[in-house]
């Protein structure tokens, strides 16, 4: 018997990181917003964070929050949508300024300036910047729940794999740096000084990064603290995609916490006498795929959410979606 969404949250009190992944356009952002709304209503301080470069929380909440920092428009509910372009630009500027200040320069040496520009235009830059922002938020531990709305590519899982690789990298580099530090100390001793001349600032910086990444990747790989949800609609493509995603999860030794089936036309409509052929066929098709979905993914299904007669936008509609998502029960 599948756990419902509500049971899932109630049985896991340690949970504090919720990630919605899956194909684009199926309702990840809607469910991120709805889950945050529900948690906030339960009195939990919740932060809903969109990592999707295409601004969408702004649309759903019908407020312009893109790149404006953490915003709040309901008790306990905080929303953040970062503008990764802006963040990368600011980051570049901060590095430039740091170099100028550190060495009292008027302008940057040409090759260093070029390097900064080239590094910032690399595609991985935006992902890393977003990831770093996520890690930074979680390390602060200001909220009981963090709900992340992931970009569609690679099921958002790629972000996690990147996290783990990055973590290993930083560990290795820190090791190398420690070795260098040992040499500094040994030389100081040979020269008859008790301490190495100066503290290694790089090691300090690396340790800071490492602690942040270690903490975050620790949370991400701990199934007690992190839940991954996928959104699915009763259509063939989405089913195939979910199967692939399940394999990806397996290969990374992560657990998929649940699947939410979205945009399901109410089958009761079939009983209506004047139902047009168009809708009838569509509902019948969906019901056929629903059977497949139950067969394939039964242990994962946490909720089935209906298709609405209008776009789920604005706080009122989000509350409605949250009600459907967390109020769903298996009827058989």
């Amino acid at each position: 018997m599948a756990e419902t969404m509500k049971e899932f949250f109630e049985r896991r009190p340690e949970l504090n990181c919720i990630i919605f992944a899956g194909k684009g356009g199926l309702g990840k952002t809607t469910f991120s917003a709805a889950t945050s709304h529900w948690l906030a209503e339960q009195g939990k301080r919740t932060l809903c964070f969109s990592t999707d470069p295409q601004a969408s929380l702004s649309d759903i909440f019908e407020r312009d929050i893109y790149g404006k920092g953490i915003q709040s428009f309901a008790p306990n509910l905080h929303v953040l949508e970062i503008d990764s372009d802006k963040r990368v630009n600011e980051y570049q500027e901060s590095i430039r300024k740091k170099i100028l200040d550190m060495y009292n320069l008027k302008e940057l040496p040409k090759e260093i300036d070029e390097y900064i520009k080239a590094a910032a235009s690399e595609p991985a830059m935006h992902e890393s910047a977003t990831y770093d922002a996520m890690a930074e938020l979680m390390v602060k531990r200001d909220h009981s729940y963090y709900v992340f709305d992931m970009p569609p590519f690679g099921h958002g899982i790629r972000m996690v794999s990147m996290a783990l690789i990055l973590d290993t990298w930083i560990d290795k580099i820190t090791e190398l740096r420690m070795k260098a530090r040992e040499y500094d100390e040994a030389m100081a001793a040979l020269r008859g000084r008790t301490e190495a001349e100066k503290e290694d600032v790089i090691l300090k910086e690396l340790t800071e990064i490492r602690e942040k990444l270690d903490f975050f990747s620790g949370v991400l790989t701990d199934s007690k603290r992190t839940a991954f949800f996928m959104v699915l609609i009763p259509e063939k493509m989405a089913i195939l995609d979910t199967e692939r995603a399940l394999k990806m999860f397996d290969s990374m030794k992560l657990n998929l916490s649940g699947i939410i089936v979205n945009m399901v036309y109410p089958p009761e409509l079939l009983k209506m006498k004047d139902l047009g052929d168009f809708l009838k066929h569509r509902i019948e098709m969906q019901q056929r795929y629903m059977k497949v979905i139950w067969e394939k993914f039964e242990p994962y299904i946490r909720a089935v959410v209906p298709m609405y007669d209008r776009e789920p936008k604005g706080l009122k509609m989000i509350a409605k979606v949250a009600g459907d998502l967390f109020g769903w029960k298996l009827e058989r």
Partner: protein, 90 residues
Amino acid sequence: MNEEKKKGTEAKKAVKELVYGMAMHDMVRYSLKTRMYLEHLFMLITLGDMLGIPLLPPYYSLKMLPYAVPNIKSWQRRLFRERDFTDSLY
């Protein structure tokens, strides 16, 4: 009295430096060299894409960049320099 004390410390210092020069200096020189290799290896890993060898994701490379600025010139010179077997003698 004072004069004697001063002489004493000076002699002590001279002996210390002599011992250092005879026994330790080479070790320190060798350590400094190894330390330089380590520094350059570190720079290669963090700032490798400056030479077209991308290793670390650039986000964290940039964090390391300010500290590496004074060493960049010598690092590039060492890596780009032509080499032959006599190099290993020194």
